[in-house]
Symmetry: C2
Subunit: 317 residues, 2 copies
DNA sequence: TTGTGTTATGAGCAAATACTCACATACGGG
DNA sequence: CCCGTATGTGAGTATTTGCTCATAACACAA
């Protein structure tokens, strides 16, 4: 007070004020009274303590780390949206947690008053998400499939989820009645030129938000396991540098689409523009890491729902 | 969202909200929007996160430790007021720091509009505090000495600070013109029965706040060094269990006044009631530890200004 | 099914906080 | 010595927060 410690005084006082505020739970009025200054000065001290980094807030809850990681992901990869769910250490499920988060994110969009066009990809994760989606009436929205729903054997593609979501929510849904991968580039062009298909493709390009999965290209790649491509084709893709598949289309480690091979027969819509739409990938797990990294690098997505462990790996890489 | 984790959901949400609030710096309105709930619910989540102890605040500043210690002292010993100043590791001064804090505390009282009766003890620490006290006009207050101001040789007692404080502040001051320790119990009674003295004693009993020092009873006890008691008397006191002296009166380790010996000749006022007055001790250092502990144990004081090291020792004991 | 006790929710309001601005005070250079 | 710039202060005001209360949703039992 009287002995002038040249410059530290201010910070000391700020620390005092910060302590009284955050630790002792005083109001700024009380602090002002106790320190014999005006309320405004007390306020300044407190905010000084904060801005000087004297005050550290820690959140003792697993969720806190997740939110941290999400913020880092957003910053590092320029994402508009990122969500990281806690990793359940005892589980190997590729959908646990992220499916819930994806469902929540879908609900967030579907609850909007204004009409929204929702693009829907394919895959196990997405299917799991739809499964736990709470039913909701939203006749104002449109849900459009980004991929064909016909399996190579002519049956309905099991992991095409457009019908599942149609059951859940009362919105107009737009499936694409064609094979995921056509038998030839020419067939694809033919199919795409059909008015019904054309209008769905046009609608998908206008999507406001799209939820997509990311498929790996390991030996048990979904694309192969589900019979859309042969093992030879899978190996050829890998040889060409492909590391992942998004709505049927293969991409290399930089997120660049592979030229030729099965890609010239993929009948899916293009991934909606990242300029006009939120393209949210739902993916987690070591196997999908290269694919997620590629999608991030190639700016194929601007939103990501993943888990803690995957997020950490992505940020470490 | 849909998978009902029976009870953790709420805490998870609270953690989210808390994170968004404290870490991300969102306003509760923003949190409400992001989480799709009302502002009130967001507020409830945040306060739940706080009340559940999810949010931990740490203050990175030496002063924070002092304030922590002060809070602990208050709680542990039922003090109404406690102040802990940083210990300067390189200094052995018994007044450095605490004197400043004491001066600040005095100023706080003296700045009050309403008339206050201030009791003043004696000692080196108190004298140092008065010396750095900023001059202040407070004609509404009264300052009353709790001890006599006449040394055994008839001179003014050097560490009686009533005159020092009277110079500094423009308040009515009330010295006690009698020896600190009378030559006999009878003389004390005689002195105390004099109207002038009587009125000062009565005034001291009505003090609103008292600032006192705590004297040790080592071989260089102030009471002995300043010539108020002989070395034999000092030893006798110690033999009787005395560990400290407050305004001339000796107390044992439980804060109980020693029976007989010099205590029956001490002419000082009694320590003002801890029910009606703030009795603030200013003391630090290893030598005074037993005395401070005794004063705390015996509820002789309800306020303490000390330093970090002493506070830690008191709390450890 | 209906009643009942518990819990959650949102509105409204009072308190607390943050911000802006105008002015005061101090410092350093001309 | 004076002036411009920086720094700090308090008043006023807008925003944000916390609290209370009435009501709604819910679970459970009769």
């Amino acid at each position: 007070m009287s002995k002038p410690e040249i410059t530290n005084t201010k910070l000391d006082d700020a620390a005092r004020a910060g302590w009284l505020y955050y630790v002792a739970g005083n109001t700024q009025d009380e602090i002002a009274a106790k320190l014999g200054v005006s309320r405004q000065s007390a306020q300044r001290m407190v905010s000084l303590a904060v801005s000087e980094g004297l005050v550290k807030v820690r959140l003792d809850h697993p969720i806190a780390h997740c939110l941290d990681l999400a913020a880092q992901l957003k910053k590092r990869f320029g994402l508009k949206m990122a969500e990281v769910v806690p990793t359940d250490p005892g589980s190997t499920s590729t959908t646990l947690g992220v499916a819930d988060a994806a469902a929540a994110e879908m609900t967030r969009w579907l609850k909007m008053e204004a009409p929204v066009i929702v693009g829907i990809g394919t895959g196990r994760t997405l299917k799991a998400a739809i499964e736990i989606l709470s039913p909701i009436d939203c006749p104002q929205h449109k849900v459009v499939s980004l991929t064909g729903n016909i399996a190579p054997d002519g049956s309905a593609a099991f992991y095409n989820v457009i019908f599942n979501i149609a059951e859940k929510i009362k919105a107009r849904s737009f499936p694409m009645s064609l094979p995921v991968i056509a038998s030839s580039p020419e067939e694809r062009e033919l199919l795409h030129s059909q008015p019904m298909i054309r209008s769905v493709l046009d609608l998908s390009a206008k999507a406001d938000v799209a939820f997509i999965g990311i498929g790996d290209l390991e030996d048990d790649a979904p694309l192969f396991v589900d019979g859309f491509i042969s093992h030879d084709e899978l190996q050829a893709l890998r040889q060409a540098g492909a590391v992942c598949e998004i709505i049927g289309r293969a991409f290399d480690r930089n997120g660049i689409a592979i030229e030729g091979l099965t890609n010239e027969r993929v009948a899916s819509a293009l991934i909606p523009s990242r300029e006009t739409a939120m393209v949210i990938a739902i993916a987690k797990g070591a196997k999908k890491m290269p694919g997620i990294a590629a999608a991030l690098k190639g700016n194929l997505i601007n939103g990501l729902i993943t888990d803690e462990r995957t997020a950490e790996a992505l940020l470490a890489g």
